[in-house]
């Protein structure tokens, strides 16, 4: 083997002025621009690729396009994919190629790729740039309809590129030129449509000439023309996986398009007319074609005569029974098709070109909801009925031959343009070419399998059906033996058709073999398996495109964020928000920092950024009535200037959100929601206002990002508020708990200050316009400095509220918890109705043994029970014999308390209130610890601290 040893001295569509060097498994090869990796391998005498995935059998290149099951490679290049068919990778300078046995590896540095997304809206989308697609695009664009043409090759022409007919290639070149000159036409080469969804929405991947550039096209078309062509099928016989066995049309592609010889002595096996072209082209390229093995008793005379003239023997009524050889095909044994199948001849050959007929590529059509129907004459499933605004034309619906394809494409193009309101073209397409006669094909004689002369199908492990999956007739026979009947079951049992090649060479063959095994005449009655997106492999990173990191999931920060960073806060993600978790000082861990922050809030003064709480303004004469219907407690009679805590339930009576509602004026309320629940609460309001209570005059507006909120907490907070708001009367009598005051801070910032507490301590929330948020924070920090004001984060907030037994919706509740379960009977109005109230008296919701919120005190004061821990009874045995161990509930919150000097927890516990005083147990690490059940309040039970 020498470099370019198997390259024809002339011809092909490669650019011989652009020589390229590359390596395959470390061996240097020479190629030209226009080569694929596969064609360059063949031109350099490399016919064997990596062995098969499961059975390590030698394998070669089977096809010349995306049907390739064997020749999978990894390319060590910036941005390459883990595994690609060598038949679709364009050769570029210095490309390092490694053959793969069916399993690739993800590239660790995927950011090296240029990936983008493009949206396109078009009148007519044409998929496929062969004769059909070109004719369709020409016809559709003649009346100035906007046309988008996608083709997966670097060069337009489709199947014509595999031939040598100069007149037809000229036609394709002329058509391409004409299309590119039309302003409303966009031609995208190297672009493969892989998904076809509702309402003519298609996805396509466009590749650059190199592997590191890809673009995802998202296309909405008024009308679609599918000109996706057809795939050649192999035939199943013994040893049909040996290197040297190739699809007949692929051998044409290699000699004609790439000027690469796939072998030197060839046998052609066929069931139809098309392989004769391959035989003649191979012979013309200098391959010694020993015989055409035709399953038909009477091959067409004209083709037989041409073969004879080229010195090729035609063996009619014969099939290949076996390809033999150690590492590649060395000989082909031919048998009579009719029984008894006696051996006719054994021929020495290194290339066996096979054509088992053609399957229209109906993948996209089928994805779009189109229905297929078996056609006995063509031995294929053909499109029958479209569900969307589309045409499928040419070989993709079994119209073979240039003239038929052009005529069919033209008709589809005209219809497509007309359906978009564009006039039909009145000039015919390049007369002379479109009327060029295509010979009428002779009927084929399908051969799905050439049975072995001995043994049972379940033993035929060398009759391969799916080369990528290493699945054989024996596997299908075994699936049948296990009771599988339908192609769908066979597919799942054998994995046939589930490889990255999407079963292009195995799907229908498997159905044919199944029909044969079940004694059915043809596969027609069995149907096909479903075609699904993606029709060709695409990477997740392409689908993601630029939508990664911050562009996928935005980071929300409050205006006070710079101050948190200066203070060295550790941040916690709460929804999309970054919230300060705790502020560790020099030498502190989280534990020490939280204890210090808690102590400051309980004994001095502390401050936190509460701006992320959802905030909604409700304005309108019916705002009070609206709140009354949604919250479990009443708000209609809330005094102006007052605040009230409220809980909302879903229709099922389960707690949905909570927050504080302020009444600012007769018709103006403003309320807070949980940080994560803000959007959901606004949606909930809108749903009721728009769909159920359209008579209520209320407007709900999100003001979360309009207000910044700083909580000032602790026994000395009144002094800090007094210092920052000189005009405000702050005594308990003049500014009592749960009231709101509008004032101007000493630094001139207007502020709305609320006396509300989520810690049990004397506390205030200072609300200012968002753009003053940072200034307000700094003012409070400055005024509080003399009192040792301490910033605290979400962890301290959680500890403080848990010590008081205030539940957090979404942490201590999970959508199965009622206000009654939380022990909040006091907030559930007896007098008025509200959403969910009726559900609280449903038999299941009113059960006494529901899980209820309780406190837990671990017997070991220093042991922290992990949140989520399961709780069991004190005497419940934990042994495999009584599994599953009956669970009583779980821990929802668990902390170290500075105020208590010990750990504590909140839990949802079955019949929890009845168990107060009892002991439960829970696993911590690999041991069980005990805890006493308590009321869910641990600190300041009498509520003496909130007024300072």
């Amino acid at each position: 083997m020498t470099a370019n040893s198997e390259r024809l001295p002339e011809g092909g569509r490669i650019d011989r002025t652009k020589p390229l060097r590359a390596t395959v498994d470390g061996i240097e090869i020479l190629g030209y621009r226009g080569d694929t990796v596969a064609s360059a391998m063949l031109a350099n005498g490399i016919r064997t690729v990596a062995p098969s995935l499961y059975r390590s059998r030698p394998r070669g290149i089977l096809g010349a396009g995306n049907e390739e099951p064997n020749a999978l490679v990894r390319v060590e290049r910036r941005g390459s994919s883990p595994m690609l068919p060598a038949t679709t990778v364009e050769l570029t300078e210095g490309l390092p190629v490694h053959t793969l046995s069916g399993i690739g590896a993800l590239e660790p540095n995927s950011e090296a790729k240029d990936l983008d997304t493009r949206f396109a809206h078009t009148d007519v989308l044409v998929v496929g740039g062969g004769p059909t697609g070109l004719a369709a695009a020409l016809a559709a664009s003649e009346g100035d309809a906007r046309v988008l043409l996608l083709d997966d090759q670097p060069e337009l022409g489709g199947a014509l590129l595999r031939g040598t007919d100069a007149e037809l290639l000229d036609w394709a070149g002329g058509a391409a030129e004409l299309l590119r000159a039309r302003p409303e036409v966009t031609v995208v080469s190297r672009c493969t449509a892989f998904g076809y969804y509702d309402e003519n929405y298609l996805l396509a991947v466009e590749r650059g000439e190199t592997l590191d550039r890809q673009r995802l096209w998202k296309i909405r078309a008024h009308h679609v023309v599918l000109a996706t062509g057809a795939n050649e099928r192999p035939i199943v016989f013994a040893g049909n996986d040996l290197p040297g066995v190739m699809l007949a049309d692929a051998t044409r592609a290699y000699v004609n398009r790439y000027a690469a010889l796939p072998g030197s002595e060839a046998v052609i096996a066929t069931t139809n007319d098309t392989a004769y072209e391959a035989a003649l082209d191979l012979a013309a390229a200098g391959v010694s074609v020993r015989a055409i093995v035709d399953s038909r008793a009477e091959p067409p005379e004209d083709l037989a005569a041409m073969a004879c003239q080229a010195g090729i023997e035609v063996l009619a009524d014969c099939v290949v029974a076996e390809a033999t050889g150690t590492d590649s095909v060395a000989a082909v044994r031919i048998v009579r098709f009719e029984q008894p199948r006696r051996t006719v001849r054994t021929i020495r050959a290194d290339l066996l070109a096979v054509s088992g007929g053609w399957s229209p590529d109906v993948g996209l059509f089928s994805q779009s909801g189109g229905k297929l129907r078996w056609n006995e004459t063509l031995a294929a499933f053909l499109p029958e009925h479209s569900r969307q605004r589309q045409h499928i034309a040419g070989a993709a619906r079994g119209r073979y031959g240039f003239a038929r394809c052009v005529a069919d494409g033209r008709f589809a193009g005209v219809s497509a343009a007309e359906s978009c309101g564009y006039p039909a073209p009145d000039s015919p397409l390049r007369p002379g070419i479109s009327e060029r006669a295509t010979r009428v094909e002779t009927e084929q004689r399908p051969v799905w399998i050439v049975p072995a002369e001995t043994g049972k199908p379940a033993e035929w492990r060398e009759h391969f059906v799916d080369l990528q999956r290493d699945a054989t007739v024996a596997d299908i026979a075994r699936a049948c033996g296990a009771g599988m009947r339908s192609p769908e079951h066979i597919k799942r049992y054998t994995t046939i058709g589930t490889g990255s090649d999407q079963g292009r060479t195995s799907g229908l063959t498997a159905v044919g073999v199944l029909a044969w095994l079940r004694g059915m005449g043809s596969p027609g009655a069995l149907g096909t398996t479903s075609f699904r997106a993606p029709a060709v492999p695409v990477s997740f990173e392409l689908l993601a495109g630029r939508d990664t990191g911050k562009l996928l999931d935005p980071v929300r920060t409050t205006p006070i964020h710079p101050a948190h960073r200066e203070l060295g806060a550790e941040f916690e993600n709460v929804g999309q928000w970054k919230r300060p978790w705790y502020y560790a000082r020099e030498g502190e861990g989280m534990h020490e920092a939280v204890l210090r922050e808690c102590a400051a809030a309980r004994t001095g003064v502390a401050m936190m950024d509460a701006s992320t709480l959802g905030k909604i303004d409700l304005i309108g004469p019916d705002a009070g009535e609206f709140l009354n219907r949604l919250y479990t407690n009443g708000f209609k009679k809330l005094a102006i200037g007052s605040a009230r805590y409220g809980v909302m339930c879903g229709c099922d009576g389960m707690v949905f959100d909570d927050g504080v509602v302020l009444r600012l004026s007769e018709n103006h309320y403003t309320l807070t929601t949980t940080t994560g629940g803000a959007a959901g609460v606004l949606d909930w309001f809108e749903e009721w206002l728009q769909t159920e209570w359209i008579e209520l005059d209320v407007w709900a507006t999100s003001v979360t990002e309009q207000w910044s909120t700083v909580a000032v907490v602790g026994p000395r907070s009144r002094e800090v508020i007094g210092a920052i708001a000189p005009e405000l009367a702050v005594s308990n009598a003049e500014f009592p708990f749960m009231t709101v005051r509008e004032t101007v801070l000493g630094n001139g910032i207007p502020a709305r200050i609320v006396r509300v507490s989520f810690s049990g301590e004397l506390a205030y929330e200072v609300n200012v316009a968002n753009w003053h948020g940072l200034a307000a924070w700094r003012e409070i920090e400055r005024a509080g400095a003399g009192f040792g004001i301490t910033p605290y984060g979400t962890e301290t907030m959680h500890v403080l509220r848990a010590e008081k037994g205030f539940p957090i919706v979404g942490q201590d509740t999970d959508g199965t918890v009622t206000p009654i379960d939380l022990g909040m009977d006091w907030i559930v109005s007896k007098r008025k109705d509200f959403i969910g109230k009726r559900s609280l008296s449903r038999p299941d919701t009113a059960r006494a043994d529901r899980k209820q919120l309780v406190g837990l005190l671990p017997d070991e004061h220093g042991t922290l029970i992990p949140e989520g821990s399961q709780l069991i009874g004190e005497h419940t045995p934990v042994t495999p014999e009584v599994a599953p161990v009956p669970m009583l509930g779980h821990v929802t919150s668990s902390y170290h308390s500075a105020a208590l000097g010990r750990t504590f927890a909140l839990a949802l516990l079955r019949s929890g209130r009845e168990r107060i005083g009892q002991t439960v147990r829970t696993p911590v690490g690999d041991r069980l610890v005990s805890a006493t059940v308590t009321e869910p309040i641990f600190y300041d039970k009498e509520g003496a601290r909130r007024d300072g």
């Binding site: 509702d198 309402e199 929405y201 229709c651 949606d683 809108e686 359209i694 009726r838 559900s839 038999p843």
Partner: protein
Amino acid sequence: MLLIECPWCGQREETEFRYGGQAHVDYPSAPAETGDTEWAEFLFYRDNPAGPFAERWMHAAGCRRWFNAVRDTRTNEFLGVYRIGEGQPA
């Protein structure tokens, strides 16, 4: 991806919308007088026909308005859309 006709904005992509389940399921007017079975049916039971189905949609990434639509659940074809308060088209 479906194209859905918002009665306020016109045809928009499916991803702009939120689904809201069966339409014309009114919140019972007198919940307290509603029996347990009837209430459970309101809460948990919805039709699931193979064919035309009146359902609620909300143009969440658009005008944020709720509307009703009749969709054929076998084909996903939208047979019609109508605003809240308008009767279901025949």
